[in-house]
């Protein structure tokens, strides 16, 4: 038998293949998925392409616009600048998981509907998730606080007044409901 002399390295064998697949487990809207993804796979592409949850939109791909917003372990994040491997083990909520059932809208969604908080609807999934978070942290915000809070998300239709109206309306409904 020939002895092989491996160079002494401090780490185990390193696989430097960019196409190597990494196993991840993510729970999306309550359903747990086991996936194998390349290192460079973005969370937004896993959601939209692999899981076919196309409610999460993609716009700027550089973290600026907020249309790709999802909630990762409860907190809003940009899924376009989050790698899928970074979401391993996380609980993800997308717009598809906001309504309590297929016939009922969440109060924030209902308020967007009634107050015309959407025009083309492109920013809406991100706006709804962000407004939901704002209201969880501050159930009775002023218009200025809502405006400040949603400054993280851009609306190309510029319908900010109505989005603020919707957030204030949703806050009132949720206060009545609780």
């Amino acid at each position: 038998m020939t002895a092989t002399h491996e160079p002494a390295t401090g780490v185990d064998e390193i696989d430097t293949d960019p196409a190597a697949l990494h196993p991840i487990t993510i729970t999306v809207n309550g359903t747990t998925h086991r996936l194998a993804v390349e290192g460079r796979r973005l969370l937004v592409d896993v959601l939209r392409q692999d899981l076919r949850l196309t409610g999460t939109h993609t716009g700027c791909d550089q973290g600026v616009c907020g249309v790709c917003t999802v909630r990762l372990d409860g907190a809003t994040v940009r899924s376009c600048i989050t790698l899928a491997v970074q979401a391993d083990g996380a609980d993800v909520r997308t717009i598809e998981g906001v309504a309590p059932d297929t016939r009922t809208l969440h109060p924030v969604q209902q308020a967007f509907w009634e107050k015309q908080g959407l025009q083309c609807g492109f920013c809406t999934p991100g706006m709804v998730l962000r407004v939901q978070e704002i209201l969880e942290q501050n159930p009775c915000p002023t218009r200025a606080q809502v405006r400040e809070g949603i400054s993280s998300n851009l609306c190309r239709c510029t319908g900010y007044q109505f989005i603020v109206d919707a957030a204030v309306e949703a806050a009132e409904r949720m206060a009545e409901g609780s």
Binding site: T9, G10, V11, I14, D15, T16, D17, P18, A19, A20, H22, E38, G39, R40, L42, D45, D61, Q62, G63, V64, G66, T69, L72, A75, T76, V77, R78, C80, I81, T82, L83, V85, Q86, D88, R130, E133, E148, G149, S151, S152
Partner: protein
């Protein structure tokens, strides 16, 4: 666009991550929150062959007091630092500066240490670290060394850390009695990088300024200390004229820079207008005046 191909490696511990960086060589990059690196990858402004993810290394997200220092670990999120009562009471300048970084969804993932390591000339946290004389702990396969903030920032997105060194933690001196701190900045839109900003820490005893540190961002290729302004204030009994003179001195020694030089710092908002240097300098002066005035009020030393 999407990120270019890279091989992905998860650091099991900070030491393991350092070993991976050493093994993989200079084409490897560390990944923290990814809130600067991912936009750069998507825009293909960076094409590292390998990424070493520090995100799941345990024990690095601490925000804790260690004697006269407040220590922020490499993976402590900006949102966690923002919401820490310890940071607010012990290092108020850091607490105030971090509120101005981007928007909550970005602060939910971005790290304080990652922002300092990224070393953007317009970013709040490198500038605050400079004003606070923060101490950075650099860890590599060779061991650990400590570098002061002033020696850490060496140019645009450039630091004295080697490619295989990890900033394991940043330690900020805790404020004492008589010290007031303030951050002030002006940005074109909420959540954008500032045109210019200033971080100030002032200690007043018996109505006299006995210690003062001022750092400004947005006017050079790195955050800079406003030494002439500090000298104008040190030992004085501050009144509005002294403060105005110090603010005027704060940019006097700087070399004007071309627009191209500053454009590099606007990332990741590539299409954003790039304010010219003269405008930045005048904004910087106002921010110094405001931050000094607020810091003096907080130190209890203004009449």
């Amino acid at each position: 666009m999407k990120p270019p191909p890279f091989s992905y490696h998860r650091g099991r511990t900070v030491e393991h991550a350092a070993e991976l960086l050493r093994e993989l060589g200079p084409s490897a990059r560390l990944l923290a929150g990814g809130q600067s690196l991912l936009p750069m990858l998507n825009l293909r402004l960076a094409e590292p062959a390998h990424l070493v993810d520090l995100g799941s290394a345990p024990g690095l997200d601490a925000i804790r007091r260690d004697g006269d220092l407040l220590v922020v670990g490499a993976t402590a999120r900006q949102a966690a630092v923002e919401n820490s009562a310890d940071v607010r009471s012990l290092v108020p300048l850091l607490a105030e500066a971090v509120e101005h970084v981007a928007h909550p969804p970005i602060r939910h993932r971005g790290t304080v240490v990652g922002s300092i390591a990224h070393a953007s000339a317009v970013a709040e946290l490198p500038c605050a670290a400079l004003a606070l004389d923060a101490q950075l702990t650099l860890l590599s396969a060779d061991g650990v060394r400590t570098v002061g903030a002033e020696d850490f920032f060496t140019g645009a997105f450039t630091t004295s850390a080697r490619a295989d060194e990890i900033v394991a933690q940043v330690a900020f001196p805790v404020t004492g009695p008589g010290t007031g701190q303030a951050w002030s900045e002006f940005s074109l839109r909420r959540g954008n990088f500032p045109v210019a900003g200033a971080g100030v820490s002032i200690t007043v005893a018996d109505g006299e300024i006995v210690d003062v540190a001022i750092a400004i961002c947005g006017v050079s290729d790195r955050p800079v200390r406003a030494r002439a302004a500090e000298a104008a204030l040190l030992g004085s009994r501050p009144d509005p004229e002294t403060v105005a003179a110090a603010a005027a001195a704060s940019v006097a020694e700087l070399t004007p820079r071309g627009a191209g030089d500053l454009a590099a710092h606007i990332l990741p908002v590539v299409a954003a207008p790039v304010p010219a240097w003269g405008y930045r300098a005048s904004v910087a002066k106002s921010q110094v005046r405001r931050a000094v005035t607020t810091a003096l009020t907080r130190a209890g030393g203004v009449r």
